[in-house]
């Protein structure tokens, strides 16, 4: 069992979600985050004073997946989130020991 974590641009969330649905992914957890990276931030000017905004709005997706599905899912996300511009985001994979579905108590792949 793996956990796929992806940071993407907020306005790409809908596209990524639709792509994942189309790819058969049945569950996603989304968090609003702020990201700092190569993209740099931007400057906002209030009353003539500049404020350096280092963190830009991003969206984090977390998807539990069976190991064999991981590559496919990653490709789907990467394709849907890609704009070719800096700041498109990252995807990373971590290992998950168990998954439990709260409602039924099921564990393992069937709990995803």
């Amino acid at each position: 069992m793996k956990l796929i974590t992806a940071i993407v641009k907020p306005y790409k969330l809908d596209d990524v979600k639709e792509a994942l649905k189309a790819a058969g992914v049945v569950g996603i957890t989304v968090t609003e985050v702020r990201g700092f990276g190569r993209q740099g931030g931007h400057t906002e000017t209030y009353r003539g004073a500049e404020y350096k905004i280092d963190f830009l709005p991003k969206v984090k997706l977390e998807i539990l997946a069976d190991a064999p599905d991981v590559d496919r899912i990653v490709d789907v996300i990467a394709a849907a989130a890609n704009t070719g511009k800096i700041g498109d985001g990252k995807i990373w994979i971590t290992d998950v020991e168990t998954v439990i579905r709260v409602r039924t108590g099921e564990t393992g792949a069937s709990a995803i």
Binding site: E44, T45, R47, G48
Partner: protein, 399 residues
């Protein structure tokens, strides 16, 4: 008072009352999310304490006896001789003026934001009311500054310059905030406040005619035009200088224009309000940056907007005052053939107000600092004053 005049004064008083919540939101939106309640409370506190003090003795000391040029006495203690209902004109006027007494100290709150102990603020307001607001008000409206010939229609000197310079004195004693300023936590809140302020300001300025007459109508028109022109000017300066026309810039310009037209509203006409607005918009847009040059931490630019804006308006009266238009008894401004006399009096009046307000405010703050202390702890400042001073959190989204 005729019923039409009374209706207008009552409406105007209600409008001015509404300005203090408007100011609270204007300031509160600019502040960080962890200090917004403290900001709101500094303003609402003025709404709670000042009305009571005003009728007990504030009005009396600020006005009666009318032939004293420096300070009143206790003749109208608890509105003694003016409670006779009659046609209500006197009572309505006392209430109307009371609204100004409320908002003047409230203006200062924007400067001391993010670090002042609420208990210190709770003492500061009543002391400042009696030692600074009341005497300056007296001098300007019926006192020695008035007698010399200076004019101040709705409170440029008595309110904005006064509160603005007091804000400077207060932050000089208080010291700067520990952490860097942060961007406004909610600009929509700022814009709600701006809308309320402009709306209420029609009562502030046009109500100061104390009648529904031609002067009120002109003051109304001037309030409309100066705010618009100043907002436009600020926006254009920003657009050119900083690259973007900002929401906060539009709001700030509007307020600067409203401040600047305040002293002049019932004394100028024709294109004068537009000129005053444009000047105020440009000047204040630059003035808010002075704090970084001079190193005082006026959190929400009370000095740059209210002190500078009020001064701009008050001095421009010296050029634009047009008594013939108003059947007025004041001197002509320079552009109407009056020579520099009026301008000189405007300068004197403002200098007097500035000196008094600055010195006394500074002393009040020093005394508070030495006694109960004026700053929250460093930890409270980091965690936010909403929690330390009020035990509350502004937004509980998780419920």
């Amino acid at each position: 008072m005729e019923s039409g005049d009374l209706a207008w004064v009552l409406v105007s008083a209600a409008l001015v009352l509404f300005m203090t919540p408007g100011l609270a939101l204007f300031y509160g939106g600019m502040d960080r999310g962890r200090n917004v309640l403290n900001m709101l409370m500094m303003n609402f506190y003025c709404l709670l304490i000042v009305p009571v003090l005003w009728v007990i003795a504030g009005f009396s000391l600020a006005q009666t006896p009318f032939d004293n040029g420096f300070i009143g006495n206790f003749d109208s203690f608890f509105l003694k001789d003016i409670t006779t209902a009659g046609d209500g004109g006197a009572l309505a006027t006392v209430a109307f003026l009371g609204m100004f007494a409320v908002i003047t100290p409230a203006l200062i709150s924007g400067a001391v934001a993010d670090r002042m102990k609420f208990s210190a603020w709770a003492l500061f307001v009543p002391i400042w009311l009696f030692l600074v607001f009341v005497p300056v008000f007296k001098w300007v409206y019926g006192g020695w500054l008035f007698d010399r010939g200076s004019i101040d229609f709705a409170g440029g000197t008595a309110i904005h310059v006064n509160a603005g310079i007091a804000a400077l004195a207060a932050v000089m004693v208080l010291g700067a905030r520990k952490s860097d300023p942060s961007p406004p936590h909610s600009l929509p809140l700022v814009m709600i406040g701006t809308g309320i302020l402009w709306f209420g300001w029609f009562g502030f300025n046009a109500g100061s005619a104390l009648a529904a007459n031609g002067q009120a109508a002109q003051a109304f028109m001037n309030t409309f035009l100066a705010a618009a022109a100043a907002g436009l000017a600020w926006l254009l300066v920003e657009w050119k200088r900083d690259g973007h026309p900002t929401t906060l810039g539009a709001a700030s310009g509007v307020v600067a224009g409203l401040v600047a037209i305040t002293p002049a509203a019932g004394y100028v006409s024709g294109p004068a309000p537009i000129v005053i607005g444009l000047v105020a918009g440009v000047v204040c847009c630059y003035a808010v940056r002075l704090k970084r040059k001079f190193g005082y931490d006026d959190a929400l630019d009370v000095v740059g907007v209210h002190f500078v804006g009020g001064l701009v308006g008050s001095l421009l009266i010296g050029f634009f005052a047009n008594p013939s238009f108003f059947d007025g008894e004041f001197d002509e401004g320079i552009f109407y053939g009056g020579g520099g006399k009026l301008l000189l009096e405007q300068v004197i009046a403002n200098v007097a107000a500035i000196v008094w307000s600055f010195v006394i405010t500074y002393l009040i703050m020093i005394v508070l600092k030495k006694t109960i202390g004026v700053r929250v702890s460093a930890e409270a400042e980091s965690n936010g004053l909403d929690l330390s001073e009020h035990g509350e959190t502004a937004y509980h989204s998780g419920s």
